[in-house]
């Protein structure tokens, strides 16, 4: 039996085939098992049914511990299609108040895998959301009749106050953009997220952490028990509670005073930068933005011509008018343009050839303190003129840069960084700005003279004006204004805890304070003189295409100030008319916790004052 050695070589071919097959398969195993974890994810979504457990959202209190926002039980109705049998559709619809068409349409939607990708016959599917406790109670009694349906608790937001809507904000279902923008992939469709106000800014503190229960699901979708007997389950962690710096009663008073008027009131505790109230008028009732009402309310508010959703306190960029003069005075003093004794003439205005800025009747010439007290336009025009065209800066643009830097140090021109989203930065013009408008080096102090009195290009938000009040009250420093005082179990952003000094020497503030006190005693804010506390103030009347805007900025008491207030009334005319008494009442309310009986009537008078904006017919 001779061997054919030629053929014997073929054993190598066969051995090669064996080795090649095994090598290919090992490579294939490598590709499947190691090079990608797609299959692992696929396997997990196959086998694990993850049931989310929702944490309760953090509760919100005002600075005095009054409950503002809490959670209310609501119920989602779930359906397991496989178990639905002999359903009395009519009875079911009547019980939870649905039309039969809606019921049929909703059942189709649930079964449609395009709209509901996680659909399974065997698992609970969301049928209808946010049934109230009462509705749920009625359903629960009959639930035994509706096989396959069940209810699952899912708390929704409830408001204990009708005010502070802009601060509190609201909660709604996440949008696709929310899901895409979230780096932690925390959200899934149907989750709730803060949409505005602190609900949005403090979302991560308030929301807590979702828990999960992991069940094992077999190929038919049936639950076979808990994965690792629940060892991998996570309990939900409740969100942190917030204590606001807002005084709910002060806020309510502010909103009451601003009824029928457009504008804003902001009050700050100067010592801490805590916002005591932030009124934007018109406002709305936050209780309307809850649950299934939210959608309708939101649409209605969006279409309101007065834009109640717009938070004017931080989004409205207004000319500050004369409330800007103390800031000007500080810059001139710091730069040595004026001394406290420097006097400028005023003959019913700042008059140079070809230019006149009008002023009202008062003694002339006058120094800084009476100039603030009487709100003399002329004085500050002279000051700005002397500064911008001063040879010590060589050129006007470098002078303006010095001026601008001082203004920025007082919190103007940029966002302050308040903990409510949507803040605007206002406008403090710089040299580049004027170069663009007038041409390079084609402008000087006279060209831009209107910014001296808070008109022209300068724009501030009411929050920035209030912050100016706080800075003056503190004689030279401020804290970034913020509405949250304390996060239970969390930390406030350290930026709110650090004082910011302005570039102005604190000693100059005393002259400004003296001017504002003088104004309260016998100047434009003399209404304040009649109040039982030592207040300082400055009025403003911002020129406007229509009727002037009325502004008041002040603080009290003069020594150891506890509150700085700004009141901005659109088309409110002369600042002293509405803004000053409103500011005075806000101070009184905060300092005494109540308004003296003799001024109750004033509250109603101011509140009932209607300012026409020409849109009433609509």
């Amino acid at each position: 039996m001779a061997k054919d050695f030629n053929l014997e070589k073929r054993k190598f071919v066969l051995a090669g085939i064996v080795i090649a097959i095994v090598l290919i398969y090992v490579t294939r195993l490598f590709v499947l098992q190691i090079s990608t974890d797609d299959y692992k994810k696929n396997a997990d979504s196959n086998a694990f049914l993850k049931k989310t457990q929702y944490p309760s959202r953090g509760i919100v209190f005002d600075r005095n511990g009054r409950l503002l926002v809490y959670n209310q039980p609501a119920y989602d109705v779930m359906v397991t299609m496989k178990e639905v049998k002999n359903l009395d559709t009519l009875d079911f619809c009547n019980t939870i108040g649905l039309t039969k068409q809606y019921f049929i349409q909703r059942m189709e939607e649930v079964k449609d895998r395009h709209k509901n990708p996680g659909y399974s016959n065997y698992t609970q599917q969301l049928f209808i959301t946010q049934l109230s406790a009462e509705e749920c109670g009625v359903l629960q009694e009959k639930l035994f009749k509706f096989k396959g349906f069940s209810v699952q608790p899912r708390p929704i937001r409830e408001y204990a106050t009708s005010s502070a809507a802009h601060i509190l904000g609201d909660v709604g279902e996440v949008s696709q953009a929310n899901i895409d923008d979230d780096d932690d992939s925390y959200y899934v469709r149907g989750d709730y997220i803060g949409k505005q106000g602190i609900e949005k800014y403090y979302e991560k503190d308030l929301r807590g952490t979702k828990g999960v229960e992991i069940f094992l699901r077999d190929a038919h979708g049936r639950i076979q028990g808990r994965y690792m007997n629940g060892a991998m389950d996570r309990h939900p962690e409740a969100g942190h509670n917030l204590t606001l710096s807002v005084d709910e009663r002060l806020q309510a008073l502010g909103e009451h005073l601003m009824l029928n008027k457009i504008g804003a009131i902001v009050a700050i505790e100067p010592r801490t930068g805590e916002i005591l109230c932030m009124v934007s008028s018109p406002t709305y009732d936050p209780r309307m933005m809850v649950g299934r009402l939210r959608g309708k309310t939101h649409v209605r508010l969006e279409h309101d011509p007065r834009k109640p959703l717009y938070n004017r306190a931080i989004m409205g960029a207004y000319p500050p008018g004369s409330t800007f003069k103390p800031a000007q005075g500080l810059v001139f003093l710091q730069e040595g343009i004026i001394s406290p004794a420097t006097e400028f003439p005023c003959h019913r205005g700042f008059i140079v050839p070809g230019l006149k800025v009008g002023c009202h009747a008062h003694a002339s010439p006058l120094s800084l303190i009476p100039a603030i007290s009487t709100s003399c336009n002329s004085y500050f025009c002279w000051g700005l003129y002397h500064m911008i065209d001063n040879k010590k800066y060589v050129r006007s643009d470098s002078a303006l840069t010095v001026w601008k830097n001082h203004m920025v140090s007082m919190g103007f021109g940029y966002k302050l960084g308040v903990d409510i989203s949507g803040e605007k930065r206002g406008l403090i013009p710089n040299a580049t700005f004027y170069d663009k408008v007038y041409g390079h080096r084609k402008w000087g102090g006279l060209r831009i003279i209107h910014i001296a009195i808070g008109q022209g290009e300068v724009l501030l938000t009411p929050l920035q004006i209030a912050n100016l009040g706080a800075t003056i009250a503190n004689r030279g420093y401020y804290y970034i204004p913020h509405v949250v005082k304390k996060i239970t179990g969390g930390h406030l952003d350290p930026k709110y805890l650090r004082p910011r000094r302005t570039t102005i020497n604190p000693k100059w503030y005393n002259y400004i304070v003296a001017g504002m006190r003088s104004s309260a005693l016998h100047g434009t804010c003399h209404f304040l003189g009649g109040m039982p506390f030592v207040a300082c103030g400055k009025t403003g009347t911002a020129q406007n295409k229509g009727k002037d805007h009325g502004v008041f900025m002040g603080f009290a008491p003069m020594d150891h100030p506890q509150i700085a207030v700004v009141v901005y009334v659109e088309n409110g005319g002369f600042g002293a008319t509405y803004a000053v008494p409103m500011g005075a009442l806000m101070m009184e309310q905060y300092l005494y916790g109540k308004i003296a009986p003799q001024r109750q009537e004033l509250i109603e008078r101011l509140s009932n004052t209607v300012i026409s904006y020409g849109d009433e017919a609509r």
Binding site: V13, I21, L32, N46
Partner: protein, 485 residues
Amino acid sequence: METRRASFIKSIDWPIVIIYFVLIVCGWFSVAGASYDYGNTDFFSFASRSGKQMLWIFCSFGLGFVLLMLDDRIYDMFAYVLYAGMILLLIATIFLSHDIKGSRSWLSLGPVSLQPAEFAKFATALALAKFMNSFSFNMKKPQCAMIAVGLILLPMLVIIGEHETGSSLVYLAFFLMLYREGMPGAILFFGLCAVVFFIVAIRFSEVMLANTLTPIGPFAVLLMIMVFAAGMVWVYLKRIEPMRNILGIGLGITLLSFLVSNFIIPFNITWVMLVVCVAIVGYLFYLWLSDRNSNYLMIAIFSAVSIGFLYSSSYVFNSVLEPHQQIRIKVVLGMEQDLSGAGYNVNQSKIAIGSGGLTGKGFLNGTQTKLKYVPEQDTDFIFCTVGEEQGFRGSAIVLVLYMIFILRLVYLAESQYSTFGRVYGYSVASIFLFHLFINVGMVLGVTPVIGIPLPFFSYGGSSLWGFTLLLFIFLRIDAARKWRV
């Protein structure tokens, strides 16, 4: 007598026995894992599959021991009788068996069901070994080759009659053995070409080449025909000039028409290539006539048959194959994603294996197999359990063990002095290789789903005993070789 027994024990090939033992133990753990049902399984109860498998395993050990004790000469003696008996049993099964999922291959003997097809393999191997061992046998004689092929085809046809197409395909493995015994390599090459042409032509029949109106499938196949023709001229005739002519002119015209089609007027260049290929066939025919070298004729026939095959493959695919077979093939070729139907098994099996990662989830911790996502997970798809619970590490080790096992069988087969032993040994090695190739391949989504078991792993007494029988007869023959000399 004592020394005789000692030397007999020594003459058994222990590496094979050890690997066999290791694989069987791994297989039992896999079956236990696959049939485990969250806490309500007693592994050793005969009501459970793991318990039954344990029983089959001990029976196999007994069977193996008995086979080693029997005289190897009875196989030579009774080979034809066993073969004839098995064929009769297979035919009888068609009539005696109950219909299980359309298949008539199970024979009930009281409480036990057996699948005779699993036992027919060793009988066929023995019959082939005996026939090819005969003095008058010569592979080059067409009539001998025909009988050998007939011995293979007969059980195949009967098993197809039982509607067990998968099991019948296993008999194709004998062609590997025939190759070792002198079947021309060209036949294997033609077989391979047929598979490659078929796959390429079907897979890329609707994909267009660049800007031309040319389907890539036929284009690639025609290109391969040209290259193969030239290559064969070089390999079989060592003639450079005709090779250069075929390659140069064929590729040149193809390239030219590609450029024209791509940049000037788009047209289907396979028509040009078809003309070129026909011309090549004519050229080879001319060379045969002028040179009188029959190799030219063979190459010409190969090329002509290939062209014919190409143009009939789509007809075969669409008209001859059953719809479910078409879908299986399309799924394997990635032309169709049918995750709920034919692709479901393979997709779930890939998920199960892929989720194992490097080290696997651990014994009894596989979720995909436990939760019944993979169908047939303890029989045909048993390798999923290995992949999911033991990960890349475990499943690669199993594959390497199989490789060593089959290579060792090839080595032992080659070491046989008798053609009988060698033919039988190669048959055993080829059958194991075929099972490994198809079974693991389908689980990994590489080969079509053909329901054949993974030796020593898949649950079931018949297949385990069948493989044990196949293997231990060879071990006995091999032992006798060392021991008798």
